[in-house]
Subunit: 335 residues, 4 copies
């Protein structure tokens, strides 16, 4: 079977396709999955693009979706033929004991899903939503679950809330769709008027071009009649956080997800304090949250936006396309 | 102007229409409202139908919707012409300090809205959702806010949850509509197949005739593949609660609203304990919750189901129609 | 080594002591524990006393405390010599996915700890609080964790709250001690003035003899100047629940734990609703909650009240003593 | 009677003592309070010391404690002779609709309590804890309630938690005392070994001199065996926040209170995200929270630490002493 690994010292030029033996048959508590798709996230890009971020020989990609091909002894949750999707923190099953690094994350601290088959503990995956394509399902692992946890688990979104989403990455589009499906009003931003048009088509109630309106925080206050937004899905990081704080109402929930604009920066802490807002750092979520999310996706009508598909062998090219920023929604590789 | 009062000792035969002077102009912090509609709830029926429940001369009806006709000094929240709807607990503005009786409730401990005009503190009403008829708006006060609080405030409903609603009263239909609008799966019950059909039309995913399926709790477990429902909007009271406990998953939230079947009864507390469920008593909600709810209603597409309208003067007849149980959704009187 | 098993058809006369081989050495992920103590709970009593409740040959007792005697491969949490205490739901590690029966509980659905040694998965126990005797530690499994979860996890107790505890069983005394240690006011009940005196010595601010004051709910309202108590640790069940509802303030949290007075009964649901109270069924808690609780016990000064110790071989006698109701606090067996 | 006002353009040299007429008798819903003490907070200092922060003639001081001297019509909560303490946000009675500025705060947007008598709405004060001196009670308004809200309302502190408190200001010392009284472990910092000694005397389990240990975040991790602290009461602001994030466990709650070190600064947002921590901005709290807090204080043994008392006429001198940083605990003025 085919797989992609990173060759030391890393970087996109060192993603190598090779033919390897199929994985062993599943032991007790394990399953074998025939993988069909993975989707690209900023985290995957970063560890592949930065030299030294991954050890020699690591298989990249946190997201993986496919079909159960074999089931080991004692596994009752899955049967051969079931569509499944991988989890970002395979060891974080339930509860609040959250990881604080990527040492257990496939495609980072562990081998990921840039391969055609894998044998793994059954708890490392969940069922995929019925009727979803593998490409669609693969976007659940990272982008989808992050948006779900930010809005539903952490912020406790309710109908009538106003949610701000920033840009057109996978988390933001998922957040837009989820927020609309649960009765919220959504304000979305982008630097491209063409992308803003697409955000509107996906249901955004208000859109702002943050290039022509750099004080978009104030603009969001204006749109909400001075009230401020209830929830910000803050994927930008330090360069956007100040505007997010400006945008938020007193007591707003700001889901801090992003490092797109850096790992630290000048933050107006006094305004965060005066507005009595909550800045909640988060990385993806637990297996239990993914199970809840998949159940929700089977009820809701929404489907993730897939921008473009690449073959597994073209993973480096897919990352370069991601790097260009031209995409809208998720980029996938298929096996 | 016209108003309806109850004449001692009470009972539906003692609802009296009379002509009285218009209310005084609004003082500081007050507004005058031209009332256009009220809707009937079980609570209104009960206090009007039971002799001695209301003092002589009390104006019944907790629900009231209309238009602001005059604004007193210092009122900034409302302007003449605004559509407004009354609150069930006028003094419960915000927070968790909930009342435990009806001494402050219009139409019970205080005069209610079976009249054409009223002057009252501005905080006794909130804005009505834009574009709603007065009949529709009047259903928010009691039935609507109860459903909202049960599902959103107390149970923290999320997409993918399964919600059980019992019967076709105002709270249950609102709960069905809200749950569907927020991405939940709904199982509804009725003793009438015709009404079950209408519940399906309103979005119920599953319906159960509780007459032909008296063990409907087990049936709900079967429908959920043995998992049990996440939330029960329990409007029946002691006679239905045992089945609601059977229907609920471990950890289920049961919103205890109803006294339809009595004020006390045999409850399987050991099963409630073994299932580790939460039984949450509630009566309507606070002004703050109503404001949140109205904002949600302006985002969601749903409209309350109005069964039939009566003239204010025919209030007794309206209650008798309610008593018959033939209705589906809300009965209103208009002024 | 010695162990106690139940002989069909069960009942206290059928508790049999036998000599058996020591357990196998621990496999991967397992440890061997030299057990030193177990404590008796109503649940243990019930399944031992009722014919047919346990299968032939079952080892009773959910509570077990002792010292790690051997550690299997891959176990990092424990070392030989560590003092440990068993968990009531060994498979409920974390999160909110609570069991709804006793099929996984040692001494009920599985073999328990009425033996001198056991080899088990390391996750079936937690560390014991430093400096505690094994008898003391053994009371954590059931009584202690139940009180902790009721007050801290479910009710979110805060300093200044008023807590009602009923009777002098293990859960109630733990709840009294925990509530006092966290700054609450405690009202305790008993039918024995001598026991009330001991409750006072343990810190109870107010005591009520429920025999001489059968309307103790009203008495609790009087003590709280009409406000009502914030939390009731309701261990009695249907026969006491009505008074607990009377005692509670609007919005009170009633932790429903007990089946002492039966498995169902007449409950004033209308008053629960009018008071807008929350009745939360619970059974013990998760491993994560036990870890938190043990950490708390190492900070707090409190120690559980041990009434009397029996030898393992005298387990039936210990249960008969428990049956008599003469005890105050926990009864233990030691190995 | 005597009062202190600020003279334009402000600054400590422009605090003026004058003799004025006594306030009017209380109208409906009002009371007159004979003030006996106020305590100094950083907020009071800042608005008095910075030119232009207060309008000409403003009476400073948010904290005020005294005795009810007269009661207006309709006031039932208070009687003549009751000891009372003022609220920081007089209009924030209950619920979550938090202010985001100081426009309603006595001593800032409104006249404060640097005077001997005041007539005000009864809801602007609460009862003081029984048996407290007026100086002690006056510290509740700002410092006390801030610590209570941070630990109890927002962070949901439980026994066994580890709490980090920074420095020896009023909020930090209150937080230390409250955390100890509710069963937490406390790590405290100061730049003075003498003050660290006093923090130990007040119950701090661990102390760190942040001057000699500038990487005190890592030191807190070491003290907690690598686990990290559960709650940080972050009063420093941007210059200490980075270390607070380092100190916190995954999922830690950081109560963001302080602007002592500036209004914005370089924050390691990526670490906050990776640790999945919550940064909760807050300013003091609501009247309902103050009522809960006062009830807690009557149960707990703790008393606030009063460093030094000044006469009202020496308010400027008191602020200069505060400015010096020599104090430990609260500085009060008495009337």
């Amino acid at each position: 079977m085919k797989q992609v690994t990173i060759k030391a010292p890393g970087g996109l030029d060192n993603l190598v396709v090779s033919d390897v033996a199929e994985p062993a048959a599943p032991g007790a508590g394990e399953i074998t999955v025939r993988l069909h798709a993975s989707s690209l996230n900023y985290h995957d890009y970063r560890v592949c693009a930065i030299e030294g971020a991954l050890p020699d020989g690591r298989i990249p990609m946190a997201d993986g979706a496919g079909v159960v091909a074999a089931v080991g002894a004692g596994v009752e949750e899955f049967a051969v033929g079931d569509a499944v999707v991988s989890g970002f923190f395979p060891d974080w099953l339930d509860g609040d004991d959250r990881p604080s690094d990527f040492s257990t994350t496939p495609g980072d601290g562990r081998d990921g899903y840039a391969r055609e088959r894998v044998t793994l503990p059954a708890t490392w995956v969940t069922h995929a939503p019925e009727g979803w394509s593998h490409e669609e399902a693969s976007t659940i692992t990272t982008a989808g679950l992050t948006a779900w946890r930010a809005l539903v688990v952490d912020a406790g979104i309710k109908a009538g809330d106003t949610v701000a989403v920033l840009g057109t990455g996978g988390v933001s589009i998922y957040a837009l769709q989820l927020a609309k499906a649960m009765g919220a009003t959504v304000i979305a931003t982008s630097s491209s008027d063409a992308k803003l048009e697409r955000l509107r088509d996906l249901g955004a109630d208000h859109v702002i071009n943050y290039r022509s309106t750099p004080e978009w925080g104030e603009e969001m206050r204006r749109i909400t009649d001075g009230r401020g937004v209830d929830i910000v899905v803050e994927v930008g990081g330090p360069a956007t956080l100040a505007q997010s704080i400006v945008a938020g109402r007193p007591g707003a929930h700001i889901a801090l997800i992003g490092v797109l604009t850096g790992r630290s920066g000048e933050i107006p802490t006094a305004l965060l304090m005066a507005r009595q807002q909550r800045l909640q750092g988060l990385i993806v979520g637990s297996r239990r949250q993914q199970i809840d999310f998949v159940r929700a996706l089977e009820t809701l009508e929404l489907r993730p936006v897939i921008d473009r598909r690449f073959a597994l062998a073209d993973l480096a090219e897919a990352f370069r396309y991601q790097e260009s920023g031209a995409h809208f929604g998720k980029i996938c590789v298929t096996m």
